[in-house]
């Protein structure tokens, strides 16, 4: 069984992130790390690997040169090998282009399950898993709280999305794309030997040419979204002191505005 786990290298402190002159995230100005959301995906892959013998886990990232650090973290936490898609033409990729590249890499690797986090901490779009599934022509099980595999089926539970706290049980035949939440099981901290051993594991670097993708189909120039303007938002927190009735109205207005009422 082949598992590809997606690992994104993201800025450590989102509050410190700024945009470059081309209005993309200034990735070289901040310290980055493997994002938490993906640690849960790596953990699920490692758990599946513990339970059956035939599992091979490949950690996959697409990102500038520093992103290989995310792969090392994933390798220390149980992935068997890493693949880093590195190509300067990728700078400024939008979500459809990112999914195009990741899908090509998944196809080349071959997979039964592609595991990902639910959302990136920088873009927070939560669309890559479903986009990948669409491109690969397989089911997507998004936002799973639990995941179990048997011979050729995946079983998962997730919030039913109705906002009532209900859950639903899902199954899908492999191959499939699965994204897991931070309720899926706490990542275990790797032992020192595992961290040392991870340095010996194989990390391959692929370019767009390796994947057979034209550079004109990706990057800033090919983006289907055009950013017009970026402004610092005014500090959001508002603290008010009011008599009980107007305080209640204020809260209810907020609830109405955010559609909780």
């Amino acid at each position: 069984m082949k598992i590809v786990v997606l690992t994104k290298h993201v800025p450590q402190a989102i509050g410190e992130v700024s945009f470059g002159p081309d209005l993309t995230v200034n990735r070289s100005a901040v310290r980055c790390r493997l994002q938490d959301a993906d640690e849960y995906a790596v953990e699920q892959a490692a758990r599946i690997a513990c339970r059956r013998l035939d599992v091979q886990v490949t950690a996959l990232t697409m990102g500038p040169s520093g992103a290989s650090a995310a792969l090392r973290t994933a390798l220390a936490r149980g992935a068997d090998e890493g693949v880093h898609i590195l190509d300067d033409a990728l700078h400024g990729c939008d979500a459809p282009a990112t999914s195009l590249v990741l899908a090509a890499a998944c196809r080349r690797l071959g997979f039964d399950v592609v595991l990902c986090g639910t959302a990136s901490t920088d873009s927070a779009m939560s669309v890559i898993p479903a986009m990948l599934a669409e491109r690969l022509g397989v089911p997507a099980l998004c936002r799973c709280d639990t995941l179990r595999t048997d011979e050729d089926l995946l079983h998962a539970t997730r919030d039913d999305g109705t906002g009532t706290g209900g859950t639903e049980d899902l199954t899908a035949a492999m191959p499939a794309v699965v994204s897991v939440t931070d309720r899926s099981g706490e990542p275990r901290y790797p032992r020192f030997e595992a961290i040392a051993d991870a340095r010996q594991k194989l990390v391959r670097t692929w370019s767009l040419a390796d994947l057979g993708i034209e550079t004109t189909h990706v990057g800033l120039a090919a983006a289907a979204t055009k950013v017009g303007k970026v402004t610092r938002a005014e500090p959001p927190p508002t603290t008010v002191t009011e008599d009980p009735h107007s305080a209640a109205v204020r809260i209810a207005d907020f609830l109405t505005q955010q559609q909780f009422l």
Partner: protein
């Protein structure tokens, strides 16, 4: 005028389904002629409500009735929202497609953008026409610290919209009902095999969408009962700080914190909770926090999007009355 498609969610939380649909129609009006799209055949009441909020046309799949008879666990032959919207995009050549940014909506939008080879913008908090009539979307990015304005320059713009982008405003129209034949795409939806837990009147704490939490500042067991009523009125789960549990106001399993339950609700309403490190460890995954407390220096206010400095004992009853006054009768259902 260019048509703007809005996806009416099938089974969002009771009461919000119409609110999100009506909000999308209200937004669509800014960009063109609002069209409501839904996966089931609407009844007369639904047609009426969608008309009231400005839908010029309503589209649903031609075989919706047959599909609806298939049970929830047998969805094999059912066209998905993606299939439906893709077919309509081809037929109507819309100026944009608007979808509520719920988990399901986000998934539909992601697949749709790939299928149409379109650009996608997620979680828009505002939407308006640009100089050429194109949709300009505003996103709050990087933990809310930046406002980003963008437009989509390829394909039919697919935009998911946050609830705060618009309040529903009525705009009576005569909606004409149309159907379209939709070919289900091959086997891409996972099967829902069971919905194990019957809906509880109040949701389980660790899965709750809204959590109302009380701490020492609530003051008394009697005042805590009011907090419970507020939770009930909001369809929320009740939680407490460690202190509230020690005082016996909430059962130990309703403790939120490092050694208690960890919650990830969309809304966390903290009443009389100071927000110690240990408490914050259990609730910092909340999307939006509202805090009520009498000490403006309490750490919980740092996390709050709305902080109200005052006495929780007097604010809670006033809030309960306000919520009850605003509830169902005003719902545009």
């Amino acid at each position: 005028m260019a048509k703007v498609l809005t996806l009416v969610e099938r089974d969002a939380r009771e009461g919000t389904v119409w609110r999100s649909a009506c909000a999308l129609l209200t937004l669509a009006r800014r960009l063109g002629e609002p069209i409501a799209v839904l996966g089931d055949t609407p009844d007369e009441e639904m047609v009426g409500a969608l008309s009231r909020y400005g839908a010029a046309e309503i589209w649903c799949p031609a075989d919706a009735d047959k599909a609806a008879r298939a049970t929830n666990t047998d969805q094999a032959a059912r066209a998905t929202d993606t299939d439906l919207l893709a077919a309509l995009a081809q037929r109507l050549d819309p100026a944009a497609i608007l979808i509520a940014s719920t988990p399901r909506g986000q998934e539909t939008a992601a697949r749709l953008a790939i299928r149409l080879d379109s650009g996608i913008i997620t979680d828009a908090v505002d939407l308006r026409p640009g100089p050429g009539g194109e949709a300009v979307a505003v996103q709050r990015c990087l933990a809310g610290s930046y406002l980003v304005e963008s437009t989509i320059i390829r394909g039919v713009p697919v935009i998911t919209v946050r609830p705060e982008a618009a309040l529903p405003e009525p705009h009576p129209a005569e909606a004409a009902l149309h159907t379209i034949a939709v070919e289900p795409s091959p086997q891409r939806a996972p099967h829902v095999v069971a919905i194990p837990k019957p809906r509880a009147a109040r949701p389980a704490l660790d899965h709750a969408d809204i959590v109302v939490a009380g701490g020492r500042g609530v003051g008394s067991r009697a005042a805590f009962a009011v907090l419970t009523d507020v939770a009930e009125a909001l369809g929320a789960a009740v939680a407490g700080s460690h202190t509230a549990a020690e005082l016996g106001w909430v059962p130990p399993e309703a403790r939120v914190g490092l050694t208690g339950t960890t919650v990830h609700p969309r809304l966390y309403l903290a009443c009389g909770v100071s927000g110690s490190v240990r408490h914050r460890a259990g609730m910092q995954g909340a999307k939006t926090v509202i805090a009520i407390g009498d000490d403006p220096a309490a750490p919980i206010f740092k996390l709050a999007e709305l902080g109200v400095v005052g006495d929780a004992r007097t604010i809670l009853p006033a809030l309960l009355a306000e919520i009850r006054a605003r509830r169902p009768p005003h719902d545009p259902r």
